[in-house]
């Protein structure tokens, strides 16, 4: 049995804990033993993406330490947090020892779909979800981690699920972390356009692999009173597997 560490990320820990729970259950279903190093904190994006690199260093080091207890892969259901940790070596370049430790952690870190498809070599998890779905390829997956095909392979094998394309599919949803607060006017217009493009194809589901983008788009769809169900990809992959846990993200 393959042992893996789970990197929960703060939004999945506190707000969308079902996504985290289902990720653990899915990994177990796929033959992994999941460990949860509980010393782990947040990847630090709110601080790092605001430019507070220096004052983020103790937290970055704390996260590195948390995952140094073993050599197993680290898996997370949030692309943007994975991308943030993968930049640690660059941020810590002035401290070669820490940069090397950061690199070692970064090398073991995988976004969930990347891990399932490329490391476990599984493309069909046996899920079933009838209906039309729009997949939102989040910026962190496609542009920062280069994870483009993996989620599509997994979704392509979900029984009954039809994926529908939307206009400007790869355009950012406008979340951008602190951007959604600091530049809420611009962020708001971006998510409005994204919601318009999604609802234009009248899907049953909006599916993504990054909780933060989903939270943003779901918040807009909810504001507009739209009935599109917003699902994390793990919700989809666990559909018809653990019915009792199928709760949409929003």
């Amino acid at each position: 049995m393959m042992k893996v560490n789970f990197f929960v990320t703060c939004l999945c820990d506190v707000v969308k804990s079902n996504v985290a729970k289902k990720t653990v259950l899915l990994l177990e279903q796929l033959g992994c033993e999941v460990l949860f190093p509980k010393e782990q904190g947040c990847c630090g994006q709110p601080s790092l993406n605001s430019g507070y690199i220096e004052s983020s260093k103790p937290a970055m080091k704390s996260l590195i330490r948390a995952f140094e207890g073993n050599e197993y892969p680290i898996v997370t259901p949030a692309g943007s947090c994975a991308a943030a940790v993968k930049k640690y070596p660059e941020y810590l370049a002035d401290e070669p020892e820490w940069a090397a430790r950061a690199q070692a952690v970064s090398d073991r870190l995988f976004e969930l779909t990347q891990f399932i498809v490329n490391e476990l070599n599984i493309e069909n998890v046996g899920a079933k979800l009838p209906g039309r779905g729009v997949y939102h390829p989040s910026c962190s997956l496609i542009r920062k981690l280069g994870v483009r095909e993996e989620p599509l392979k997994l979704l392509g094998n979900v029984e009954g699920l039809e994926l529908v394309a939307i206009k400007n599919q790869e355009t950012c949803c406008g979340f951008g972390g602190t951007f959604s607060i600091k530049m809420s006017e611009i962020s708001g217009e971006m998510v409005k356009e994204k919601a318009t493009n999604i609802t234009a194809v009248t899907p049953d589901y909006l599916i993504g692999a990054d909780v933060s983008c989903l939270m943003n788009i779901a918040g807009r769809l909810s504001r507009e009173g739209k009935t599109v169900k917003v699902l994390h990809i793990v919700d989809v992959l666990m559909s018809n597997i653990v019915d009792s846990l199928t709760v949409e993200v929003n």
Binding site: Q29, S55, N124, G176, M190, S244
Partner: protein, 495 residues
């Protein structure tokens, strides 16, 4: 107009701009058209990434050897009988040009499109010498006759105006009585300004790339106006940023291939002109006197900084045409002649944080710009670098600094973080009701302006994980395990 185009505060500016439905529609349409055409042109050329890599290497090579190429360029321009002036500041550049105007007693100047002349605020200088200046690029001309409306795009300066608005401007300002048909309007302007070309004492142009080996300057245009502006007046002044050099015509070929495709989605623009010095005795046409003004204006400081890669920029605006923030706020929101991602990086470097500190935050860090840049400038990383600089300079808001300090304090202590997450998991579901919090201020108010808050799932994950050994397995899990394992096995054996 100099680099800064507005005194209104950033938030107010974007608010006003976002209310302009015409502008937003024009920008969105133009962006989509240019983005699609760029992609098609890149795909048609093939091996686009190798071309980009090549472009990046050429630009890096020039920047690494800029002193050498500047010297070579100057020598060769002088050999052909041209004059070279190296201006450290924009003031020095405009002083030099002002002297030529006075010396020639120039009464009229025709200009072709040039961002760098806008950066140094050249038109005001020309006008205060009782000399008329006419922008001959159609886009620039529209803005000039519209009481010097600031540009909203570095390639298509009047992008924010639709054809009806342009017709209105022409009607009000230059007595146009025709339709809003672009060809008809263009024909009218051509006839309207033809005499200006013939009467002008001086022609002023920018320079897309200077070729060091021959001392030539190249101009990439679509309207032919630059050719008239450089061949009819007796004096030609070209103004260039000091980094805009290629070693030889071979590299020019590659850079122009990248530029035209990235800017307008075409293999070539209508006119690609190379001019080498003033006219010689056996030349049919051309200016009798040629001046090349090479502008530093902060560029050598950038060269020595971590922002060096921005000097690779060839001003194609591919980043602008793909930026989702630009799409919604339009170019004038940036308050700088340089807008979009390139503007958000460049404006604070050339004009300082006092005037442009908001620009690096007008970005969701989506990195779409990085992917389209023909010379692979990591624009989004440079915007982040600006944020870091502003933190170091302590010009970020106090409330933000305190919040971030508190966050980093909690996050660097596993014990405190663990506790915070557990408490958060307990509290969040109780306080967030129907996408709202009872208090609606600060960050929460900003977020909920356009969207609801998420409905929390319940207790924190870590509480669940800690207790799960004690609990019975989640119902259904055990029952389906066998099915999943069987399907997974089947899938594996198919491979």
């Amino acid at each position: 107009m100099s680099m800064k185009t507005s005194d209104v505060i950033f938030k107010q500016r974007i608010k006003e701009q976002m209310q302009d439905g015409f502008m937003r529609k024009s920008v969105a349409n133009a962006q989509e058209r240019m983005f699609t055409n760029r992609q098609l042109a890149a795909d048609k050329l093939g091996n686009w990434d190798e071309w980009r890599e090549n472009g990046m290497e050429i630009r890096n090579h020039v920047l690494d050897n800029l002193d050498y190429y500047l010297h070579q360029l100057s020598e060769n321009v002088q050999k052909t009988g041209g004059h070279v002036f190296f201006a450290e500041t924009s003031q020095q550049a405009t002083d030099y040009i002002e002297n030529i105007i006075k010396e020639k007693d120039a009464k009229k100047i025709v200009k072709s499109k040039s961002m760098v002349t806008e950066e140094i605020g050249l038109n005001e200088v020309i006008q205060r010498n009782n000399c008329e200046v006419i922008e001959t690029d159609l886009g620039e001309y529209i803005l000039q006759v519209d009481d010097c409306d600031p540009p909203s795009h570095i390639v298509v300066p009047a992008l924010h105006k639709n054809r009806e608005q342009i017709r209105g401007v022409f009607e009000d300002k230059i007595g146009y009585a025709g339709s809003s048909d672009p060809e008809e309007m263009t024909r009218f302007v051509r006839e309207h300004i033809r005499h200006d070309f013939l009467e002008a004492d001086i022609g002023i142009t920018g320079c897309n790339f200077a070729v060091a080996e021959s001392g030539s300057i190249s101009l990439v245009t679509n309207e032919g106006n630059a050719r008239l502006a450089t061949s009819l007046p007796k004096v030609h002044i070209a103004v260039m940023g000091m980094e805009r050099i290629v070693p030889t015509f071979e590299e020019l070929d590659i850079m122009v291939s990248l530029l035209c495709r990235s800017a307008v989605g075409l293999p070539l623009t209508g006119y690609v002109t190379a001019i080498t010095g003033p006219r010689e005795s056996n030349d049919m046409d051309g200016a009798e006197e040629f001046h090349l003004v090479i502008l530093d204006n902060g560029r050598s400081d950038i060269l020595a900084s971590e922002f060096k890669s921005i000097l690779r920029c060839i001003r194609c605006a591919a980043c602008v045409n793909t930026c989702p923030a630009y799409r919604h706020i339009g170019g004038q929101s940036y308050g700088s002649i340089y807008s979009g991602p390139i503007g958000a990086v460049l404006s604070p470097l050339l004009g300082g944080y006092d005037d442009f500190q908001d620009l690096p935050y007008a970005c969701s860090l989506c990195q779409a710009c990085n992917d389209v840049c023909p010379v692979k400038i990591p624009l989004s990383d440079l915007l982040l670098k600006h944020r870091e600089k502003m933190v170091i300079k302590k010009i970020t808001p106090l409330a933000e600094r305190l919040t971030v300090s508190a966050f980093n304090y909690l996050n660097s202590s596993p014990k405190l973080w663990n506790m915070s997450m557990k408490i958060g998991g307990k509290v969040a579901p109780k306080v967030i009701k129907d996408g709202k919090l009872p208090i609606n201020v600060g960050a929460i108010a900003d977020w909920t302006e356009a969207r609801d808050l998420p409905q929390p799932d319940g207790d924190s994950f870590r509480s669940w994980f800690a207790n799960r050994d004690a609990d019975t397995p989640v119902s259904g899990t055990a029952a389906v395990t066998g099915i999943v394992e069987a399907k997974v096995k089947a899938n594996k054996s198919e491979k």
